[in-house]
Amino acid sequence: MGRIIVALAGIGLVLFMWNEAAGYPPTARQLPNLLGWVVLILAVLAIVQQALQWRRASADGTLTFDGPDWRAIGLGGGFLALVMVYAWSISVVGYLIATPVFLAVPLLVLRPIGLVPAVLSIAAVTAAVYGVFVWFLSLNIPLYPAF
């Protein structure tokens, strides 16, 4: 099922890119248009292949759909959302606040290690990354809250 959604998304992307490319000079749109066809054909084939597989499976009576693993989706999705919030928060509250908070959330919620090691790891990681990127490489990343 997921593969079909990805294939359909691929087709959607190609149609969108073709539409965009229509206004480009011929040289500029040549390769995207050609590759668009390739992606389109392969996406259709992927859908057909999946459908054939299902038909064969249903003929054999082995067609089963695994129910989604809600726990994994919840955990993974939640973490992914946290990653996005983290990336965004760096430009708002700065690296020195965003990073320990981001590291603390999964450690507090999932409790893979005790409290003391958790605090130590958070401090160590924040400091080590700061040391390498900011101190050594003079990386110009926001460190403190912007307000």
Binding site: P25, T27, L35, P106, L110, P112, V129, L139
Partner: protein, 510 residues
């Protein structure tokens, strides 16, 4: 020339230069292991520090750093499934499964040994045949490089084992996404929507960090550590290969080393491409093809021997003609200029002493890499003792800051996460990611050289057939695409149809 050869050796064994080589190896290994930090960046940053050194000392340090970074990339690739450098992306495929099987130390030992073999091979090539091979570079113009890119694309077929259609789909999507950015001939910004950060295209390193690291971080969080499970790696596993294993890996390493040298030699292709070529060939020659992707030693040896061999290969045109073979060697050339040595044909004559010192330094750097590597790697393997749910968030912090560091750009952080989501979707539905990576690497080369070739050939596609080098390479590409068909043809008729669909990239020559 002969005298420079020995002068160079005498220079290198100077304790100061040896110390510089070791320092370079240590820094390089560290930089390579960090996603987002590249050898090019480190060389550029350390260049000012070497002003105060004698030219040969500074260059020896930088060359050693460059070489060590190639190995460093594999540490993160194997332990964290996050390639530390783009050149280590291919190492992930078999290296990380090895680590999951509890063989992290062995995988790293193989990588280190393969790096040593590849590096030494290319140093020997540098010291002996550099002036001869240097001229070969001039034979590679846009038409020939286009053919190399097409040949590279056929690797997608190999990597799509088990699900040819999905693999080809993934590869084609990578090529398509690679067309984002300014078109080389007309300067039209394609698919950029006015976002300046996309004008130069999707930054490949940023995409790569996202594709591999985010899904891995999420996976570590979701899986956690099963109750009572032993830690992923038994640290006690033997690191360095036994004598027998060494003999077994030798043919693979040498083949991959040669591939690395040649790929490094060709302008515009470097470690990121070479490692995939080597991986592909290792699989072609292997008896246990089905084991590739599940943690087979040959799958670690090939890319690692190749990406270290690239260093010497890329230095060949740099030394012989003053033409940088890669972005890192371009920065090294800058290092020469700092010392008043103009890169060019005089490197072998007027400045032969400095040049040969550099060449010997590359050879010695391999040894330094090996020695430093043994200790450094042991320390790194400790990572596998840390619980998964602690490692996951740390990978994210490194990836976010690393992505930012590449171009000093917040946009790149967003791009990295977007590719992370794409990688996660692909992983969830078991669509292979490596073909997408190949597409992103080769897409820009394909686009640029196709447009150049057609401008040179005044729009005539025959230019690719009339040119002997490109005609040969394209013929090999076609054969290799056809050869791949029956090997992975378990799915039957559909496969044949899909190959028909997958070929338009080479179809341009018909």
């Amino acid at each position: 020339m002969e005298s420079f050869f020995w002068v160079g050796l005498a220079n290198v064994v100077d304790p100061i230069n040896i110390a510089a080589i070791f320092a370079g190896a240590l820094i390089g290994m560290f930089v390579g292991a960090m996603p987002g930090l590249s050898a090019t960046m480190a060389i550029a940053l350390l260049l000012p520090l070497t002003y105060s050194f004698r030219p040969e000392t500074g260059l020896a340090m930088l060359a050693s750093l460059y070489l060590a970074a190639m190995y460093g990339g594999s540490i993160a690739a194997i332990l964290l499934r996050t390639p530390g450098t783009p050149a280590a992306a291919a190492t992930v495929i078999d290296g990380h499964p090895m680590a999951r099987k509890g063989q992290a130390g062995k995988a790293l030992g193989l990588s280190l040994t393969a790096s040593l073999i590849g590096g030494i091979l290319s140093s020997i090539a540098l010291l002996t045949v550099a002036p001869l091979l240097g001229k070969v570079v001039l034979n590679f113009g846009p038409v020939e490089i286009f053919a190399v890119a097409v040949l590279g694309i056929t690797i997608i077929g190999t990597l799509s084992q088990g699900s040819t259609i999905l693999g080809l789909f993934s590869g084609a999507l990578g090529l398509l996404l690679a067309t984002v950015g300014m078109d080389p001939t007309t300067g039209t910004p394609r698919f950029t929507f006015g976002v300046l950060d996309l004008f130069s295209g999707i930054n490949f390193t940023v995409a790569l960090i996202g594709l591999f690291s985010i899904p891995q971080a999420v996976r570590l969080i979701v899986e956690g550590n099963a109750k009572g499970e032993d830690r992923v790696s038994k640290i006690r596993d033997r690191m360095l290969p036994t004598g027998r294993e060494f003999v077994q890996m030798l043919p693979n390493s040498i083949r991959s080393g040669v591939i690395g040298i040649v790929t490094g030699l060709i302008p515009g292709t470097g470690g990121d491409t070479a490692s995939w070529f080597a991986y592909n060939e290792a699989k072609r020659f292997a008896k246990n093809k089905a084991d590739f992707g599940t943690g087979t030693p040959a799958g670690v040896v090939a890319p690692e021997a190749a990406n270290n061999a690239v260093v010497g290969g890329a230095l060949i045109p740099t030394i012989a003609l003053g033409i940088p073979g890669s972005s890192s060697t371009a920065v090294l050339l800058g290092g020469l200029m700092v010392h008043g040595i103009l890169p060019g044909p005089t490197l072998m004559t007027d400045y032969g002493d400095v040049t040969y010192t550099l060449l010997w330094a590359v050879l010695f750097a391999n040894v330094a890499l090996f020695v430093v590597g043994i200790f450094f790697t042991r320390a790194c393997v400790a990572v596998t003792k840390i619980p998964n749910r602690v490692v996951g968030p740390v990978i994210v912090v490194l990836s976010v800051i690393g992505a930012y560091a590449i171009n000093n750009s917040m946009f790149d952080v967003g791009l990295m996460i977007a590719f992370g989501v794409l990688g996660l979707v692909f992983d969830t539905f078991r669509i292979p990611t490596p073909p997408l990576v190949i597409g992103l690497i080769l897409g820009p080369i394909l686009d640029m050289t196709l447009q150049q070739s057609l401008l040179i050939g005044k729009g005539n596609w025959m230019i690719f057939i009339e040119n002997p080098i490109s005609a040969t390479l394209l013929a090999i590409a076609l054969l290799s695409a056809l050869q791949a068909t029956p090997l992975f043809g378990g799915i039957g008729r559909l496969v044949k149809r899909s190959i028909g669909g997958g070929r338009p990239t080479t179809g341009g020559t018909e």
